[in-house]
């Protein structure tokens, strides 16, 4: 397998990159780390006429603003997200999730923005189509689903590890485009349609991620379920935050978000409300986990069945909430 031929640009500013996007129109693709894009190109899943590499654009180190907002450059390599002291101190949930992305080698190449802008995945889709599954499925622009032959829509799954963590932290993202810059909640970048999981326009770049810092009375955890350690995408990924009151007994706000089970990360709102205002006990956490598994309908994927994933969602949510509660008061992971 090899890459098809394409034109290659390596601008040194975001403005130049956007300008190039405008000129190239829909024939261009942005490449940050390229760890999602290049394998898809090798499979022939996308055939851009040109690649606009973002590797020469300087990366701004993470900063914490006066009002406690952590600003992260989207072009930061995942490995730097994992290692960054300021992220570890203020958004340790993101550090933990970033540390579970792919493998060590890929974490050096891949970027935070790229991890958020990755494509949704499916066994039938993520392979070459030379003699298998030749007829295009929904995701390849066709009119069928190999997984569910009578299905009416694409069932690919969005598998970012950092996305549920950022959604759990109520992160906002900056989108740069020819029309200027806008800031939107991270939820709003998702279309909910697995065929095109992201709402970003053809000349837009996700440039920055902003997170309100976690306080000392919060606990957090990201639990990724996979059959093997390292390399794998999640079967289910659960991110949790428990924001406790002053006495550290009563939960003021809870965040429970789940990745790798649908076209976007999903929030377990019922489970969150169950915890809000209550004193935390293990039986309450169990109840919340059960509620999360009931309200979130998983898409079976990558060899896992629906009943199994539903159960794993419950187990992982319970474990994530348990770990989050244990960590209340522990500001930093390390």
């Amino acid at each position: 397998m090899h890459l098809p031929r394409f034109e290659y640009f390596q601008p040194s500013t975001v403005e130049d990159a956007i300008h190039l996007l405008e000129i190239q129109k829909s024939g261009a693709r942005l490449a940050a780390g390229g760890t999602d894009l290049y394998p898809r190109m090798k499979y022939g899943l996308t055939r851009p006429e040109s690649i606009i590499s973002l590797r020469d654009i300087p990366v701004t180190p993470p900063t914490l603003s006066q009002d406690g907002i952590l600003n992260l450059d989207a072009f930061m390599p995942i490995k730097e997200v994992v290692n960054s002291r300021v992220i570890l101190d203020n958004a340790p949930l993101l550090s933990e999730a970033a540390g579970r992305v792919a493998s060590e080698e890929i974490r050096y190449m891949a970027t935070l923005g790229g991890n958020l802008c990755q494509e949704s995945r499916c066994l039938y889709y993520n392979q070459g189509h030379n003699f298998q599954f030749i007829e295009p499925c929904f995701k390849r622009g066709g009119d069928l689903c190999y997984f569910v032959p009578k299905g009416k829509k694409c069932l690919a799954v969005y598998m970012s590890d950092t996305a549920p963590a950022l959604m759990c932290l109520n992160a906002k993202v900056n989108i740069l485009g020819s029309g200027g810059e806008k800031q939107i909640p991270i939820e709003d970048i998702y279309s909910g349609d697995a065929k095109h999981p992201l709402e970003l326009g053809p000349t837009e770049i996700l440039s920055q991620i902003n997170i309100a810092k976690l306080t000392g009375s919060a606990g957090w955890a990201y639990k990724k379920f996979s059959l093997r350690g390292g390399v794998e995408f999640a079967g289910v990924g659960v991110a949790t935050v428990l924001q406790m009151g002053d006495g550290k007994k009563v939960c003021e706000q809870a965040g429970i978000t789940v990745g790798a089970i649908a076209a976007s990360p999903l929030r377990a709102s019922n489970a969150e409300s169950l915890l809000k205002g209550k004193e935390i006990t293990d039986s309450l956490l169990k109840e919340a986990a059960k509620a999360a598994a009931e309200e979130i309908k998983v898409v079976p994927h990558h060899g896992y069945s629906t009943p199994y994933l539903q159960e794993i969602l419950r187990v992982q949510t319970h474990r994530a909430l348990g770990t989050a509660y244990e960590r209340v008061g522990v500001v930093s992971q390390k």
Binding site: M1, F131, F225
Partner: protein, 783 residues
């Protein structure tokens, strides 16, 4: 017994420095002038008629040098088995009909990969799809789509039977009627693959004057040469297949493959070298994996655990052609016959055609699956009878000198010692049964321990049946070894050099090797029937002995001494007690050339297992001898099961094995560890997912091979039953396949011990365990 200097020592492998420094040259590193790139067009249908192939547009593409279809071939079929009962059954390029997704239709040669792939996209093939069947139970039914007619010798009203093996001794019905307890179970194994890192790759270069040169990633060049010569109607001597380093094989590179034939024919057509390299996806989707077996096992025992009767029915989902499917149903008999005494036995094995890719051998070639079934059921029986798993195995285990029903003898057999030492080393008896009842600190982890047993033959009779080795002395007193054996990573060249070093007392590093070249090296059995250490090793030993004799005779003459008084060490000879008056090999070689009509001292050795047996045993009836060397092992698995997620972790694997004696203990250890890792993947995570003949996970990301995170602690105990003496034939046993074979059953038994969940099918997935624990509903087929 004289002390050994090289054999039995943990000498670092000969190929190590080349491999770790990147100097080793693999087939992919071969670049020849004007070399073309070949690519293969494959069937998108599991079953279809080919109506028309239009290559005209591809031929017009600049850079395309040749396109070959079945019309360009001689119409000769090939097969993993080519016997009167099972004649060759597959064309190297499909003719008129395809029987699995990925079957080869045609091949192109072009100036580069881009052009070759574009050419494939310009070819139009019209198909008429036919009804297809993928499940062997369905395929056997009357009225199932016919992939091939049922074998003419099989008279039962079953469809798609590629072949059948049956064997019987004693009277099973009588045995069952005399049994105190009879148990019947059905076990299933799944589809998994070798996972060799180097994909299939071949460089062919045809020279005018009828010489076809081939470099190909394989497990032995002589079988490839014979088959290729036959398909191309070339004299065997016109085909030269030679060595490059091999990046793993594990059984997957034995047979001749279509790409090898295509590279050769394209080179003959174009007069230019052609390289064809399979992509990883092609290896996963279209090449040969291991064999998924259905195993129905009925066993009768006395109250005290004595096995009385066993009836086994095996069904092999063998794919669109026979492949090694008719071999594995024969082997299944052998893997159940050896470890335990069984007075009454009846065996039937069916290979069933389905519209899946063809299957080939994979390390153990059916043994892990068969042992999983038998060892699981043995634990079930032991529990029913209230006997512990060690006692029931010791009661039935074979002992030294026992004759097997087919006429083989187990000779020195350390099976009981293997079982005992593995159990004692792990305190199995003390731990067994405690895992389920002992709560872990966090409540949801359970520990379990289990044992499995296996036996594996060490060399059998398959073409080319024998190994020869030549040793020639060099003027400087060093030796050069010529062997047809191909080192596929198991250390073949290293152990052969150790043997020569031992016989001749030449430093190991000073033995040079020329290996695996059909033109310059003698024939070799190949690295696939676990016979290298025994068969090729004895040939090397014999060649060394001959050289040794010549050197000693000369020295005796030169020194006017008796041969029996001479001592050899470090390339010199002296009379015992007078090491100061030594004569060097260098001088002896000079003397030989002077006095023996120019003989520079060359030795030859040949070995064939079961020298008095004419053939391999019958694949149909199992009659005839199978092997003269059986290795035995007992493996204990200790697992941890997360009862909330169903995930199993293999914590520790202990392998006690009767390997005869280790020629190189370090290499034996490597074999143990490698097989533990392979068994772990087989048991817990590796699975080729298929839907209607299509492969769903043709990549390393979704085919879950264990990583360093999953690696288990592997410990081993050598049970020594044989020895090596300079100048004498030896009997040692295989270590390359039997040690992947007992662990699967051991892990299944350990999971039961931990959870009470008995698994009747592989892999032991978390879903099956949660289902067994009653935590989720029946798992649906998913992907």
């Amino acid at each position: 017994m004289a002390e050994l200097d090289f054999v039995g020592k943990s000498i670092l492998r000969k190929d190590g420095p080349d491999k770790v420094t990147g100097r080793a040259s693999y087939t992919g590193d071969i670049k020849l002038p004007r070399m073309l790139v070949g690519r293969i067009l494959r069937s998108p249908h599991p079953h279809a008629k080919i109506l028309n192939i239009d290559i005209s547009q591809a031929l017009k593409l600049k850079g395309v040098k040749a396109v070959i279809t079945s019309e360009d071939t001689l119409g000769i079929k090939a097969g993993f088995v080519e016997t009167p009962r099972y004649p060759a059954d597959q064309y190297p390029l499909a003719k008129d009909r395809v029987r699995y997704v990925g079957e080869e239709i045609l091949a192109v040669a072009a100036t580069d990969a881009y052009v070759a792939e574009e050419a494939l996209s310009l070819i139009r093939v019209d198909y008429d799809p036919l009804p297809a069947v993928f499940d062997p139970d369905e395929a056997m039914k009357e009225g199932a789509p016919e992939i091939h007619p049922t074998h003419p010798k099989v008279k039962e009203p079953l469809s798609n039977i590629a072949g059948k093996t049956q064997s019987e001794w004693g009277d099973v019905e009588l045995g069952f009627s005399e049994s105190d307890y009879v148990r019947e179970d059905r076990f299933e194994s799944h589809l998994r693959t070798h996972g060799y890192l180097e994909t299939q790759i071949t460089v062919a270069s045809y020279e005018p004057g009828n010489k076809l040169n081939l470099w190909t990633s394989s497990m032995g060049p002589f079988l490839k040469r014979a088959k290729l010569a036959r398909l191309l109607d070339l004299p065997v001597s016109s085909v030269r297949v030679r060595k490059a380093y091999v990046g793993g094989a594990f059984g997957g590179k034995v047979d001749l493959y279509s790409h090898e034939f295509c590279a050769a024919l394209l080179s003959m057509k174009t007069g230019r070298p052609v390289k064809i390299e399979a992509s990883r996806e092609e290896v996963f989707t279209a090449y040969r994996h291991g064999q998924p077996l259905i195993m129905e096992v009925k066993t009768g025992v006395k109250k005290d655990g004595t096995l009385l009767a066993q009836q086994i029915r095996v069904i092999n989902n063998c794919g669109g052609y026979r492949g090694s499917g008719v071999v594995v149903i024969f082997l299944g008999w052998g893997y159940t016959m050896v470890p335990y005494r069984m007075a009454n036995f009846k065996y039937e094995g069916y290979a069933v055609y389905t519209n899946n890719p063809v299957r080939g051998p994979q390390r153990g070639h059916g043994a892990p699956q068969m042992r999983f079934a038998v060892e699981s059921q043995l634990d079930i029986i032991a529990e029913e009878l209230g006997i512990d798993p060690i006692e029931i195995r010791l009661k039935n285990a074979r002992e030294s000198g026992e004759q097997l029903p087919n006429g083989d003898n187990v000779h020195n057999c350390g099976l009981k010692e293997c079982i005992q030492s593995a159990a004692e080393h792990t305190q199995l008896k003390e731990k067994y049964g405690t895992g389920r009842t002992t709560a872990s600190p966090n409540g949801h982890i359970r520990n379990g321990i289990g044992i499995g047993v296996s036996s594996y033959m060490s060399g059998s009779l398959i073409y080319p049946n024998s190994s020869s080795v030549s040793v020639k002395m060099n003027d400087d007193g060093t030796a050069t070894l010529l062997t047809g054996a191909l080192d596929v990573g198991q250390g073949a060249e290293t152990i052969l050099c150790q043997i020569i070093a031992e016989e001749l007392k030449i430093p190991f590093e000073e033995i040079q090797v020329i290996a695996a070249d059909t033109e310059t090296t003698p024939v070799d059995i190949g690295s696939w029937i676990s016979g290298n250490a025994y068969v090729t090793g004895n040939a090397a030993r014999m060649a060394g002995t001959e050289v040794r004799k010549k050197l000693l005779d000369l020295a005796a003459e030169e020194m006017e001494a008796n041969v029996k008084d001479l001592v050899m060490e470090n390339k010199s000879v002296w009379v015992a007690g007078s090491p100061d008056k030594k004569i060097s090999y260098r001088k002896l070689i000079g003397a030989s050339i002077q006095k023996r009509r120019g003989d520079p001292i060359i030795g030859e050795g040949h070995w064939r297992t079961m020298r008095d047996e004419p053939f391999h045993p019958s694949l149909a009836s199992t009659k005839g001898r199978w092997s003269e060397n059986y290795a035995f092992d007992a493996q204990v698995a200790e697992v941890e099961v997360d009862t909330e997620t169903g995930q199993v972790r293999l914590l520790r694997a202990v392998t006690a094995h009767d390997c005869g004696f280790p020629i190189n203990p370090l290499l034996v250890e490597g074999q143990v560890d490698g097989q533990v890792s392979m068994a772990l993947g087989h048991a817990l995570m590796e699975e080729i997912l298929m839907k209607d003949g299509h492969t769903l996970n043709p990549n390393w990301l979704e085919y879950r091979m264990p990583t360093i995170h999953e690696t288990a602690k592997s410990e081993h105990i050598n049970v020594i039953t044989e020895s090596y003496e300079v100048g004498r034939p030896y009997r040692t046993k295989e270590v390359g396949e039997g040690l992947v074979s007992a662990l699967l059953g051991a892990i299944a038994n350990a999971i039961y011990d931990a959870t009470g969940v008995r698994l009747y099918s592989t892999p032991f997935s978390p879903e099956k365990i949660l289902y067994g624990l009653g935590k989720i509903g029946r798992n649906q087929k998913v992907s």
